[in-house]
Subunit: 342 residues, 4 copies
């Protein structure tokens, strides 16, 4: 039985880890920290979990010394996570859900997020996208769990990038996310009344997930690759839909494109390639670890649409997938459940 | 041209006053205060109003001395409003949208809201429900604009109460409100993710609108009348639906009940009695000053369903209706517009 | 391995049975019928299920003869179900999710639903509410799965009814349901635009679940018991919140009431009694088989609030719970998963 | 007083025309046709309109001969509209809200919509986008009211196109629309349960608004201009947000771009250019005739975000704007009202 600790467990990714691990037959949450709720039983904060964690109290994250789990999930915000992860690594393998260890390049991190306080770990950290780095994840001490937008964008474009088909400068990532992506907390901008009848673009040309997407697509392409990325806010709780546009170096027949994606993903349980002419809907992956993909090509122009649940494949589900890999378990454990589509 | 000032104009009832008064041919907003946004142009806080109030800046509510309008709306929270209203009354007639001057009985106010600091005004204040107190409103110096829940409950039951038909102790008010009723502000409890798939009862047996409903139904009945009141939260921005149950002292035929309501409301522009077998939907009054009513009776048991927009007939629209009455205008001015039902 | 057949599998309760049974370790769906989709692979109709039922095609419900499963679920509408169930019973134990076998009294059925064509089975059918009839369900050949509204109302009031505490004629059931309760199909009344900003009462005084609630509360009380029942429509997909009001024959202290409910439900996995002052929210039971209960009493007047997922505890989850009981399995199998609260 | 007739008045654009014209001081609806509801009072179909059209009954569209209005709006679907418009033109000026007369090129119409039965009118029809064709609209006998997506896309890009700045082949229109765009009717695909937690792309590479956008941008650019257009479905009733991407022939400073858009739109009441760094939200134009625009440029790459209410500026509001122009009225009449942003 794997003993798991969750740092920063009172946010939405923390809740989601608790939800998923509640049904994991080989893992058990032994610690969940929350500065705000320390001393409070978990189900008092999350009534949905009543009956599952009745004996578990949130603990103070300061009590790091006491933690001796097999795996520690850090679900803290970027900046805060890098304060804690080095300490955690002394006693635990770590999966960090923040942005702190995703970028390999310290300069890039500093430019987008500010000075890194544990930059020495950047080289060691493994980017936790199993479909690309399964082998490296297996033996990793520190896994940097991918961002939600990057997961959707990279899975959409990696097969083309790896074949060197994408014309540089042509990539546009038009992404749409549910409101849970903004995290759990008091905020006018995320309030029901402000959001429920709206839809908007935000951080046009300046969202911090841009360098992460570029890093991974460039690594796949074996060269540099910049993207134009526009995030939008959908009035739903969960889900990201990414519409990715690119121009290719040469025309591609639809069947050829399909074969290319089939080759990349046919053995991947959590990537579902939709039939010709079908495109994904975030409702069809809700609450699940699936990434659905729809393909369109006309000459040398492609449009790929991907859908994930930002809290599952885009965060906590992928983290559990990584944990399963790290501990030699069936990757599907606790994750192979149908989406709650309605 | 009536000069109007709005105190506490950056909340939702303030926004709604600004929205409605923007098209009022006989009134003009000359001042809008907001501690939080003082110095900021109104459309920067409310982008929907761009083009309407481009020259108007929020001012500091401390600068009371400078205000000389014909009518002052106080859209501040209860407790804060009673600090300001006595001062405002020196230069303006006042419509107060808070709960501060609705209860005639000081002891009741103190019990439900805490010590009143301007209790001397309680007797003078007129309860601003035009369908009941039109004459008194006309000459009032201080109008206490009714609460949203009470408006829906009182309009539903007043015709029966006035006839002395309601059996004491039998009234149940099961009300459901949209989220804007909680006001504008940063709050986890009102955040999209927490609310959008939910529905719940809250403050069961203890909501502060209870004594206001009881006061008005008792006055209508000419005796005491207590109610059981349960508010619920609907995942919509606007709207209150109240399902009111009562037992009568004697059986009533559906036609008799209908006649009774017709007599009460047939001349009331903003109360729409639905045909037999039809019941209201909050979407059909959205953005409007209407109160829709549906009737059901079986023997001596009645069920009345009422629907209002909590921000319009339940707050700012009713306030403008009161202003129209106070200044001898057509009561419908700026208010007789079709609901935005979809 | 239990072989399960689902009749009428292309509606929402059918989808929900497929979703829940996909993770059931002791059962397997061997047949799913749909007149509309016969010959079509299940995941083509329900893309969320891609990866789970890839080899399963919807079959024609006419081919009844070919079905030899251990358990047949009928998820057909009332009226249609009674045509099929007698035939199914020749080869299978049956759980019927329609209203066709819930009322014991043929006259009551005829009055509310029209002439019954298999009334001979009414006496044999067991009302499938495990918290009340676990023993009878175990050996039943035909289980009548309870209605969604009745499940929420009966679990709320049964503990009081059984003690004979409820004053006759005093019960008001004010229920609110998500839109999935209206079933899957093309309908203007259920369309997004018509519903999403609305909230309304419907079938006031005339909903067909009334006699079902009355039957069970009367049986619990050992006498007759009529209720006033008003259903409402919430703009969410899933969930029922019932606010039940009653007067008791004598005053009850909050602690006494709590003890009474504790005694009734402390051993029931799927009924969660919330702490004093807490009331349920449908979001906290979403996607799960839980029924959450909140209690309020003042003198001899009680308000009980219950929340279920209408498609799970109100339909398909309860059906699987019944199947588990009928086949001697742990009642929680495939059902003990945390709600998807956000 | 302008006498207006509405053909196909029982859909959402019909409802919206009725809503807007209800407050128009210079126009009156004298006829509203609906095959489905003929003989029924308008408020029975649209309860929101109770009190506004109590005496108006839907009439049979077959009774064309009897119509003698000053202006006829055709709110019928494409295909059906071309059957009616030639007849209407005999007695009325006509504003057609369908796609039937928007494309100037018969071959293009035939390719995307099928054989045109009144192609002789294509040359005469004026494309009813006032910001581009105000003069032509003034004297037009037949105005082809623009499509919802095209309105949002063309207003976003026309200023750049007119200056010849857009690199051919570089335009990507990623649009997102509320559900009312699918029209009023019974449909599983538009049902609340299917849509409310979803977000999806549809008709990727094949939506019929593509040639309309291309026609107008090409006319503005004075050359051919093809676009890649992807529509998506937002779970809201109203609103279109378009994120338009293009590459320019040369780099543009943000201030230069802003001046260019200011020059184009500073005198346009209904186009609101947001300040630098601000981007539109569909909620801020809801229920109004405004089009909000946000600008972003980096080197020679631009991203323009536009927001409209698809039923107002994208349909019925624009139609009334066209009517106002055609009859020499102030263009803002009945349209200059603040959005219902919450």
């Amino acid at each position: 039985m794997i003993k798991a600790a969750i740092f920063g467990a009172s946010g939405y990714t923390g809740l989601e880890l608790l939800r998923i691990l509640a049904t994991h037959p080989e893992a058990r949450v032994v610690e969940a920290t929350s500065r705000q709720y320390k001393g409070t039983p978990v189900p008092e904060v999350f009534p949905a979990l009543r009956g599952f964690y009745d004996g578990l109290l949130f603990t103070d994250p300061e009590d790091l010394g006491s933690v001796s789990s097999d795996i520690a999930f850090s679900a803290m915000p970027h900046g805060a996570s890098q304060d804690v992860v080095p300490e955690l690594l002394k006693k635990n393998r770590v999966i960090d859900l923040s942005a702190d260890f995703r970028l390999h390049d310290k300069a890039a991190y500093n430019a987008w997020y500010g000075e890194h306080k544990a930059a020495g770990l950047l080289k060691e950290a493994v980017y936790g996208l199993p479909e690309l780095y399964r082998k490296e994840i297996k033996d990793a001490r520190l896994v940097a769990n991918p961002g939600c937008y990057p997961t959707s964008a990279i899975l959409a474009l990696a097969p083309l990038a790896r074949k060197g088909l994408i014309k540089t400068g042509s990539v546009i990532i038009d992404s749409k996310s549910g409101v849970s992506g903004a995290g759990r907390g008091a905020s006018l901008a995320s309030s029901f009344v402000e959001v429920s009848s709206g839809f908007k673009a935000y951080k046009v040309g300046s969202h911090r997930h841009t360098p992460e997407i570029e890093q991974e697509l460039a690594l796949a392409a074996g060269g540099s690759l910049n993207v134009r990325f526009t995030p939008h806010l959908i009035p739903v709780s969960r889900g990201i839909l990414t519409t990715a546009y690119a121009e290719l170096n040469r025309p591609l027949a639809p069947s050829e494109m399909r074969e290319l994606y089939n080759a990349a993903y046919s053995k991947e349980t959590f990537v579902r390639l939709l039939p010709e002419g079908s495109f994904p809907d975030i409702s069809q992956v809700r609450g699940s670890n699936f990434c659905d993909l729809g393909l369109f090509v006309e000459g040398s122009r492609v449009t790929i649409v991907s859908a994930i649940d930002n809290l599952v494949k885009g965060a906590s589900g992928q983290a559990v997938q990584n944990m399963n890999i790290m501990f030699g378990l069936d990757e599907k454990t606790a994750l192979f459940t149908p989406p709650l589509s309605i």
